[in-house]
């Protein structure tokens, strides 16, 4: 998945704004209250370019708490939740797709 920073912003479906938290690097999402959350389900979803631009502008202005904000695709589930829109985002949300070595062997 090409680094999202290299991509032009174009909104073809629902998106969220995501970044890494400065203090520990954790994956975070911009929420509707102008705060950050680690829960994708609590993220603010934009479906038009104006809203997406507003979210990313707010996020970029928050250099103290978040690093490398960008717009990422999501899919909306029937139950009202969200699923990451691509493999990269899925891995960011759920962790590596492999078993971590601590549990492997010894």
């Amino acid at each position: 998945m090409a680094s999202p920073l290299e991509r032009k912003i174009k909104i073809t479906g629902p998106v969220v704004v995501t970044a890494n938290r400065v203090a520990d690097g954790a994956v975070i999402y911009r929420d509707a209250d102008g705060d950050w959350t680690t829960s994708l389900d609590a993220a603010a979803v934009a479906t038009d370019a104006a809203r997406a631009h507003a979210l990313i502008a707010e996020a970029n202005a928050d250099d103290l708490r978040a690093v490398g904000a960008y717009i990422a695709p999501v899919e909306l589930t029937e139950a009202g939740g969200r699923r990451p829109g691509n493999l990269r985002e899925l891995i960011r949300l759920s962790g590596p797709t492999i078993e971590l070595p601590v549990t492997f062997g010894i």
């Binding site: 890494n20 400065v22 520990d24 690097g25 891995i91 492999i98 601590v102 492997f104 010894i106």
Partner: protein, 552 residues
């Protein structure tokens, strides 16, 4: 092993204090991310998909048992209980918190370790043969020269903000185990016709988007001129390397654009003006550095002790491991033991804190407290008495570090890929894991013989896919992971870049393709003595290409 003195230790401690201040300024908002990023990178701190990553330098791949124990401690205390050994003989931790990094670095500094210049546009960790100092085929220990360069380029006032990263390698053996020609700058110690030892200088190698092998710009450089020559190369690059395009910023592009001859002329002109200055190395300086390399107090032992022969006869598994993982040592009665970090289904290069601690104990008991890291992402115990091999094997086997697959198809070099890395386009580790499962049968692996697979999750080529016998490069097509396959790459004395065999294949088919290539080799080889790479050279890639794509 190089012994740090108060100067080395002071510098590392002062670096930690500086970084602690920089982190505090970042966390307080005094530094923006744009300002902080180059500073953290100069200390080996990246931001990856899930967390910060800390890369720690292991100069020329040598570690003491005490250092390895401290790495285990850092893995446990600040990370998730494991670390990842890289193709630059470094180790990296993938789950570090920025706010804890200064403490982790202070713990590392206590054993003389640091992340200085493991990232950023400076001279990276100097690598060399992981068997340096013990290999029977070397003319002298290249680590002394690597250490002289390491010291000179550490916090260098002129070369800390170059166009791009810069990788230096020093080799001294007749067989290149350090992949000299894929480095920005490489030195090969050899003797000239007069019997004097000096360096062949190679420049402009590197993989990535535009792979090149380094070209020789000077067949023989006197030892006393090593530092001034390094300085001249770096100064030429720092001034004239491209800075307008990150993909064209490595020295290989400058060398290619100018031509090796014109580049060499520029370097020689600069070098002439500085070679007799303060960087000229005198014998006392070299002797001072050399004196701080401490060598084991070996016992006088004979090769081939009877207890080893008896153990090999008694246990087939042990015998197979000896054949695979044990190499000749320059000292009689001793052996170099390679430890596979490539268990079936595992992550290439990963070691747990439990393994690190246990290995440190084994090194103390059986290898004069020393451990090596190779660019193939395996470890080595460099000084094991042959009579101790059965005991060492039993201990390693219990730790999962005795898979007898060194140099075989499941000894895969792999970058972390999309499971961790923010630059990756596709996953690498699960591809490697699936291949090791397909080739689960060790007899089958041994029948296939020496076969190197290298996997990179993006064009940056951290998995050195261009120089794998089979190279696998992850790309993205319409949001799906695809993999390009190259054949025929080699990293050693006959360094050559692999050739792309055809269209990229999807994630689920990569292991099938590797099996097809292996099957094609078995059909095509003249006999079991013809290695995969030799068959490939004889037949060309065409019959392999046909086999792979016929069914697809």
């Amino acid at each position: 092993m190089y012994i740090y003195d108060s100067i080395d230790r002071t510098l590392v401690a002062e670096r930690v204090a500086e970084f602690r201040d920089q982190v505090a300024r970042r966390l307080s908002g005094e530094l923006t991310e744009d300002e902080f990023k180059p500073l953290r990178l100069m200390n080996g701190v990246y931001l990856q998909l899930h967390a910060y990553m800390l890369r720690i330098a292991n100069p020329y791949g040598t570690l003491s048992s005490r250092q390895l124990r401290q790495l285990a401690h850092v893995a446990r205390r600040y990370d998730r209980g494991y670390g990842h050994f890289t193709t630059r003989q470094n180790i990296q931790f993938h789950w570090i918190k920025l706010e804890q990094l200064p403490d982790a670095m202070a713990d590392l500094a206590a054993v003389g370790m640091h992340g200085m210049q493991t990232s950023g546009n400076n001279v990276r960790n100097i690598t060399t043969d992981q068997w340096a100092g013990v290999a029977p085929d070397e003319i002298e220990d290249p680590r002394i020269w690597a250490e002289i360069i390491r010291q000179h380029v550490t916090l260098h006032p002129e070369f800390s903000f170059m166009p791009r990263k810069f990788k230096i390698c020093v080799g001294a053996a007749s067989h290149d185990r350090a992949a000299l020609r894929i480095h920005d700058l490489a030195f090969r110690l050899h003797r000239n016709a007069g019997g004097e030892a000096g360096f062949e200088v190679m420049v402009g190698g590197g993989l990535g988007r535009t792979p090149y092998l380094a070209q020789t710009i000077r067949p023989f450089l006197k030892k006393c001129d090593l530092l001034s020559y390094v300085e001249a190369v770096l100064r030429t690059y720092n001034q004239f390397g491209r800075r307008d395009n990150i993909w064209k910023a490595r020295i290989k592009i400058l060398v290619h654009d100018l031509g090796a001859e014109a580049f060499a002329k520029e370097v020689e002109a600069e070098w002439q003006s500085i070679k007799d200055g303060p960087l000229a190395l005198d014998a006392a300086t070299v002797a001072e550095i050399a004196s701080r390399f401490v060598y084991p107090d070996y016992e006088a032992l004979e090769d081939g002790p009877p207890e080893l022969a008896a153990a090999r006869r008694a246990d087939g598994r042990f015998d197979r491991w000896v054949n695979n993982a044990v190499a000749n040592h320059k000292k009689s009665g001793y052996a170099i033991v390679t430890l596979s970090l490539k268990p079936e289904g595992g992550t290439p290069g990963d070691a747990t804190a439990v393994q690190m601690d246990a290995l440190a104990d084994l090194a103390d008991r059986y290898s004069f407290g020393e451990i090596r890291i190779g660019h193939e992402q395996n470890l080595a115990l460099p000084h094991v008495a042959q009579r101790d091999l059965p005991a060492v094997w039993r201990a390693l086997d219990a730790l999962g570090l005795a898979t007898p697959n060194i140099g075989l198809v499941s000894d895969i070099i792999s970058c972390p890929g999309l499971d961790y890395c923010s630059l990756a386009n596709a996953r690498s580790i699960p591809i490697a894991q699936e291949i090791t499962r397909r080739f689960h049968d060790l007899d089958r692996q041994r029948d296939l013989g020496r076969l190197h697979i290298n996997i990179s999750g993006c064009i940056n080529a951290c998995g050195h896919h261009h120089v794998g016998h089979i190279g696998i490069l992850g790309v993205e097509k319409n949001g799906e992971e695809f993999y390009q396959i190259t054949l025929g790459g080699e990293a050693d004395d006959h360094a050559v870049l692999g050739t792309l065999i055809g269209p990229a294949v999807p994630y689920a088919k990569v292991a099938d393709v590797v099996e097809d290539i292996a099957a094609a080799y078995l059909d095509l080889r003249t006999g079991p003595d013809e290695l995969f790479i030799d068959t490939l050279k004889r037949t060309g890639i065409e019959p392999f290409r046909e086999r792979v794509y016929a069914a697809r």
